[in-house]
C-alpha cells in the first residue's frame, strides 16, 4: 500500500511511522515534506505522524493544519483515500476539520507515556477490521494533550454512527466517553491518540498495533 508520511518541522514520530508502514504495508512508504503541494502519484494512505509540529505553538496541530501539503491531504480524503493521524497527527486532523472535536490538555495537566488498554468498539472500519469487536489491545500513549472534546451533538453522532473505533479501558486523560480514536463519516480518515506504530514488534513489548496496518492492507 503506497504510503506518504507527512513531515512537518517538529514531527518526531515520522521515522517510526515510516518504518511501521514499510514493515507492514509492503515497503512502499516515503516522506513528504510539508511545503509540497501534491502527494506522490498513486498515494493510497496518508500517515500524519506524532510529534510537536511547529513546537505546538498557537495550539497543537494548528499551524501544521494550514501548511501547503494539507490541501492535498484534504483532497485525498475527499476522494475517499485513507488518512491515518496518530497523536499529533490526530490533533492536526481535528485542526484541519477532517475530523470533528478537539484535543485539549490532559485532565491532570501532565504528559503521560504508558501502555494503555483499548477496547475495539467498531471492528468494521478500514482501520480495525483485523481486530474483533470488544477485543482489548495494549498500545502505548505519549501525549500531554489527548483529552478529546466535542459538543454533545457531535459526541452523540459519533456514538450512534459507530465512529468511535477505540475507547480507553481506563481513561488516562479525561477524554469524553473515553474516546481514544474516531473515524470521519466516510470511514476513511482515522485519528487516534495511542501509537499503533509503537506496538508492531514483540522486541519492543507489544504487537497489538499491527492490526491497524493489517486492516488497511486487507482492504
Amino acid at each position: 500500500m503506497k504510503t506518504a508520511v507527512i513531515q512537518f518541522p517538529g514531527s518526531n514520530c515520522d521515522t517510526d511511522a515510516l518504518e511501521a508502514a514499510k514493515l507492514l504495508l509492503d515497503g512502499d512508504a516515503q516522506f513528504v515534506w510539508h511545503t509540497e503541494t501534491e502527494l506522490p502519484e498513486g498515494t493510497e494512505l496518508v500517515f500524519i505522524p506524532g510529534g510537536f509540529s511547529y513546537g505546538d505553538h498557537l495550539r497543537s496541530g494548528a499551524i501544521a493544519a494550514r501548511s501547503p501539503i494539507m490541501k492535498a491531504v484534504g483532497a485525498h480524503a475527499e476522494a475517499g483515500g485513507y488518512v491515518l493521524g496518530v497523536c499529533n497527527g490526530f490533533q492536526v486532523l481535528t485542526e484541519a476539520g477532517l475530523l470533528p472535536g478537539a484535543l485539549s490538555r490532559n485532565r491532570d495537566l501532565h504528559f503521560h507515556c504508558a501502555p494503555v488498554h483499548l477496547v475495539v468498539e467498531n471492528a468494521d472500519t478500514a482501520f480495525s477490521r483485523a481486530y474483533d469487536k470488544g477485543q482489548v489491545i495494549e498500545i502505548p500513549i505519549a501525549h500531554g494533550e489527548g483529552n478529546y472534546y466535542a459538543d454533545a451533538e457531535t459526541i452523540g453522532r459519533l456514538e450512534t454512527e459507530g465512529r468511535v473505533v477505540f475507547r480507553y479501558k481506563d481513561n488516562p486523560n479525561g477524554s469524553l466517553n473515553d474516546i481514544a480514536g474516531i473515524v470521519n463519516e466516510g470511514g476513511n480518515v482515522l485519528g487516534m491518540m495511542p501509537h499503533p506504530e509503537r506496538a508492531v514488534e514483540l522486541l519492543l513489548g507489544s504487537e497489538d498495533g499491527r492490526g491497524v496496518f493489517e486492516s488497511l492492507k486487507a482492504k
Partner: protein, 748 residues
C-alpha cells in the same frame, strides 16, 4: 594607562579571575587587556570551560582502547559498537541553573547535551537523567523535583528523543544544591563522525540557529562559584530553551554532516560564542577573525561583551567544506534557520574580534585554551574520618526485619520512579527494548541490526563521602554491574564530577581520591574514560557556614549487546525459578542506606571493592544471560540483598522462599541489608540449575543458591536465617504498596 589597568585588576573577580590570574594574563600577553578581553579570559579560564582545578588530575584516567573511536577533548566521546556503528555519549551537569530555576535549568540541560551529541554527527537516541535532591518532605525539594521533571519532560518529549533511564536520589546534602546531570547517547555510522575544528585557513565560520539575547549571560562564571541566597539575583544567568528550534537545528546539522558539507561543527554551550569558536580554533591550531556586528541579535543595543558571553540556547557554529558554502546555506534554509557568515579562519594564532570596524579582542588562541592549572594537596576532613572509623557494633538489631524491608522499599531513593518516567516519552524513535524501571539499565536496539546498546548512570554519594577512593571506584563497578544485568558488555564511561569548592582542601581531597578511584576501576574493568564534565562549587553559603554537597562523581556507562534479543530484565517472569547470588554476601552495615534510614547514622566503612571478583561476577552474569540460563538479573545496591530480592518480585505476584545460611557471627541485618559491590542476583529457570552452576564454576564465579521463586510461595517473600534462628515474611502486595506510592505523593 596605569590608572585604568589598576582599576581592571581590582575588578578581576567580576570577570571570574583572581588578581593572580589577572597578572598571569598581563604577563603572557605583554600588555594590559581591555575589559572585553579580561571577561573572555575569565570565561575561558572558569572551571566550567578551563578545568583549572580538575584537569591536572585527569592524567590518571585510562582513555584508550580498541573500542574508543573518539576519546576526551571533543564535544563527546565515541565508541565502536560493531556493524560499522558508533555511539557518541556524554554527561553534563546543569546544577546551578536548576537550583534557581528548575524548569528551564533542567530543560536547557537536556538541550545542551543533545547538541554535544549531534555536533559529533550522531543522532541522539537516548537520554538518562541523574537527579539528586534534598529532603523529600520539604517544600523546596517538591518545588525543585516537580520543576526539573517538567523541564526534562517539556524539552525531551518535544524534541523526540526518548528519556530511557537515570536515577533519582534523595539526600540532605543536596537540599540547597540539587544535582541535574543529563547523559545523552547518539548513534552514527563511523564515516559520519564529525569534529569541532575550524579546519583550514580561508574557511568560513557560520552561525546558525537562534538569535543571541541577553539570557544566560555569564553562565560559565555563575556555575563556577558558590551558590547563596544572592544567587536568585542571577536568574538572568539561566537560559531559556526552545526544543522546537533545537529539533530544526538537529535535523539540519545531521543532514549537512551526512551530505559532506561540514568541515567542523560545535554547539555554543557554556560561555557561548567565545568558547565554541576558541576551542575550534585551538583544535585546528589556527587563528580566526569574527565580526561581532554580524551576530544575529534578538534585542537591540547589545554590546560585544554580551554577544560574546551570552548563553542563548540552540545555536551552533558550522564550518563549511570549502566550495560547498552555497549548498550548506540552501540546506539550512530548508529548515528555516538563521544563517550568517560571521568570520573566517586566518593564517595566524590569534583570536580576533571586530566591532564597528575596530579590533576589540586580540588574544592568542593558546592562551585562551590553556587555563592556569592548580594542584593542591588535599586533606581529608577529620570529621569524616571519625565517621568512617565509628564502631557500629552497638547498633541495635531491629525487632521487626519485615518492617525494615518495607521501610527501605518506600524510601524515595529506592521506591519506584515510575511516576517520574511516565512523564517522559521513553518510546519515541521505537528502539526502546527495556522501558525504564524494568531492568538495571536501559536497552535500545540498533534498527536493522542484531545489536543492542545499554546505558546506565550511577553513583552512591554515601560511599563517596565516607571513602572517596572506594566510593568512586564503586560507582564505576555498579555501572558495569548494571550493564551486565541486562546482558551488555561494558565498553566505556563518561563522568560528571560534582563536588564542592575545590579551594577547600577537604573537598579537593575528595576530588583527588575520586579521580584515582575511577581511574583504577576503569582500568580493571576495561572501560576507558571518553569524556566528562566537571561541576565544582556545589556548595551553599549560609551565613558563615559553607554546606558542600556529598561528593558525587556520577558515572555514565555504555555497553553493547551483540544480540539484543538476549537481554533480561530485573523482574522474575511467571513460573518457577531458582534464585542465585553471584559474588559476595553482605558482611557489614557500614555506609548503608539501611544504617541511614533506620538508625539515622551515616558512618562506618565502605565495603571493600575487589575488582578481580567484580570482573568474574560480570562475566558470570553475562554468560548466564547469553546462554539462556537466566530469566532475570538484578544487582544489589541500596538496601542490600533484601531489597534486591523484593524488587525482583515486583513484576508479578509470585513469592519467594529465601534461606541465608550464614554464620551467626555476621549480623542478620548485615546479611539482609548490608551493601556490597560485587553481588548479582540471577533467576535461573527451574531445571537449568545444573547447567548454570557448571557454567559459573567453569568461570570461577562464587555463587550460592538462595531459594526458589514460585507460586507455591503463596505470594509472600519469606527469609529464613537458620544460624540466626530468624524467620520472617512479607506479602508481595505489601512490598508493591511500599514501593509504588512514595514518589506519587511527592510529585504534584
Amino acid at each position: 594607562m596605569t590608572q585604568p589597568t589598576q582599576h581592571l585588576r581590582d575588578q578581576a573577580a567580576t570577570f571570574g579571575l583572581s588578581t593572580e590570574e589577572f597578572d598571569i594574563l598581563v604577563e603572557r600577553i605583554g600588555r594590559e587587556p581591555n575589559a572585553l578581553e579580561a571577561a573572555i579570559v575569565g570565561a575561558m579560564w572558569s572551571e566550567h570551560c578551563g578545568y583549572k582545578n580538575s584537569r591536572p588530575l585527569f592524567k590518571a584516567f585510562p582513555t584508550e582502547g580498541p573500542q574508543v573511536l573518539q576519546g576526551p577533548g571533543e564535544n563527546a566521546g565515541v565508541i565502536d559498537i560493531g556493524g560499522g556503528y558508533g555511539v557518541a555519549f556524554k554527561m553534563e551537569s546543569h546544577n546551578h541553573p536548576s537550583a534557581v530555576e528548575p524548569v528551564q535549568g533542567a530543560a536547557t540541560g537536556v538541550g545542551g547535551i543533545l547538541r554535544d551529541i549531534f555536533a559529533m554527527g550522531a543522532r541522539p537516541f537516548a537520554v538518562l537523567d541523574s537527579l539528586r535532591f534534598g529532603d523529600p518532605e520539604s517544600p523546596r525539594t517538591r518545588f525543585l523535583l516537580n520543576g526539573v521533571v517538567d523541564g526534562i519532560s517539556h524539552y525531551g518529549n518535544a524534541i523526540g528523543v526518548p528519556t530511557v533511564g537515570g536515577e533519582t536520589i534523595f539526600h540532605p546534602s543536596y537540599q540547597e544544591n540539587p544535582l541535574v546531570n543529563v547523559m545523552a547517547l547518539g548513534l552514527l555510522r563511523h564515516e559520519d563522525l564529525a569534529t569541532g575544528t575550524m579546519g583550514e585557513v580561508g574557511n568560513q565560520i557560520i552561525y546558525v540557529g537562534s538569535k543571541t539575547g541577553r539570557d544566560g549571560l555569564g553562565g560559565a562564571v555563575f556555575s563556577s562559584a558558590d551558590l547563596s541566597a544572592a544567587s536568585q539575583a542571577d536568574r538572568p544567568a539561566v537560559q531559556v530553551g526552545d526544543p522546537f528550534m533545537e529539533k530544526l537545528l538537529l535535523e539540519a546539522t545531521l543532514e549537512a554532516i551526512q551530505a559532506g558539507l561540514v568541515a567542523g561543527v560545535q554547539d555554543m554551550g557554556a560561555a557561548g560564542l567565545v568558547s565554541s569558536t576558541c576551542e575550534m580554533a585551538y583544535r585546528a591550531g589556527l587563528g580566526i577573525s569574527m565580526n561581532l556586528n554580524d551576530v544575529p541579535t534578538r534585542e537591540t543595543g547589545m554590546v560585544p561583551m554580551e554577544l560574546c558571553l551570552s548563553e542563548s540556547q540552540e545555536r551552533m557554529i558550522l564550518v563549511p567544506v570549502p566550495g560547498k558554502e552555497q549548498e550548506l546555506y540552501d540546506l539550512l534554509a530548508k529548515w528555516e534557520l538563521d544563517v550568517v557568515n560571521i568570520g573566517q579562519v586566518e593564517d595566524h594564532q590569534n583570536y580576533r574580534l571586530v566591532w564597528d570596524g575596530e579590533v576589540v579582542c586580540d588574544l592568542p588562541v593558546d592562551l585562551l585554551n590553556e587555563a592556569p592549572k592548580y594542584t593542591r594537596e588535599g586533606v581529608e576532613n577529620p570529621d569524616i574520618i571519625a565517621k568512617r572509623e565509628m564502631d557500629l557494633s552497638g547498633v541495635e538489631m531491629p525487632a521487626d526485619l519485615g518492617a525494615v524491608l518495607t521501610t527501605l522499599l518506600s524510601h524515595p531513593t529506592i521506591a519506584s520512579k515510575k511516576p517520574i518516567f511516565e512523564r517522559y516519552d521513553h518510546q519515541v524513535m521505537t528502539n526502546t527494548v527495556v522501558v525504564p524501571g524494568a531492568a538495571d539499565a536501559a536497552v535500545m536496539r540498533v534498527r536493522g541490526t542484531q545489536i543492542g546498546v545499554a546505558a546506565t548512570s550511577d553513583c552512591n554519594p554515601r560511599f563517596v563521602y565516607l571513602d572517596p577512593y572506594t566510593g568512586a571506584a564503586a560507582a564505576v563497578a555498579e555501572a558495569a554491574r548494571n550493564l551486565a544485568c541486562v546482558g551488555a558488555t561494558p565498553l566505556a564511561i563518561t563522568d560528571n564530577l560534582n563536588f564542592g569548592n575545590p579551594h577547600d582542601l577537604g573537598v579537593y581531597y575528595q576530588l583527588q581520591q575520586s579521580v584515582q578511584g575511577i581511574a583504577d576501576a576503569c582500568r580493571a574493568l576495561n572501560t576507558p574514560v571518553t569524556g566528562g564534565n566537571v561541576s565544582l562549587y556545589n556548595q551553599y553559603v549560609e551565613g558563615d557556614q559553607k554546606v558542600a554537597i556529598h561528593p558525587t562523581p556520577t558515572i555514565g556507562m555504555v555497553g553493547v549487546l551483540p544480540d539484543v534479543t538476549r537481554h533480561v530484565g530485573q523482574h522474575i517472569p511467571a513460573g518457577p525459578h531458582s534464585l542465585y547470588l553471584l559474588g559476595e554476601l553482605g558482611q557489614g552495615i557500614g555506609a548503608s542506606q539501611y544504617l541511614g534510614t533506620v538508625h539515622g547514622l551515616e558512618a562506618g566503612q565502605v565495603p571493600a571493592l575487589d575488582l578481580e571478583l567484580h570482573r568474574k561476577v560480570i562475566d558470570g552474569t553475562l554468560a548466564l544471560i547469553r546462554e539462556g540460563l537466566a530469566a532475570a538479573a538484578h544487582d544489589t545496591a541500596e538496601g542490600g540483598l533484601g531489597v534486591a530480592v523484593a524488587e525482583m518480585l515486583l513484576g508479578g505476584t509470585q513469592g519467594a522462599g529465601i534461606t541465608l545460611d550464614a554464620p551467626a557471627e555476621t549480623r542478620a541485618d548485615a546479611l539482609l541489608f548490608g551493601e556490597t559491590h560485587s553481588s548479582v542476583l540471577v533467576a535461573v529457570p527451574l531445571g537449568r540449575e545444573t547447567a548454570a552452576e557448571a557454567r559459573l564454576s567453569e568461570l570461577g564465579v562464587p555463587c550460592r543458591l538462595l531459594g526458589t521463586v514460585s507460586e507455591e510461595s503463596g505470594e509472600r517473600l519469606t527469609f529464613a536465617l537458620p544460624q540466626h534462628s530468624l524467620n520472617f515474611s512479607v506479602s508481595t502486595a505489601a512490598l508493591k504498596q511500599a514501593h509504588s506510592q512514595p514518589l506519587r505523593d511527592i510529585l504534584a
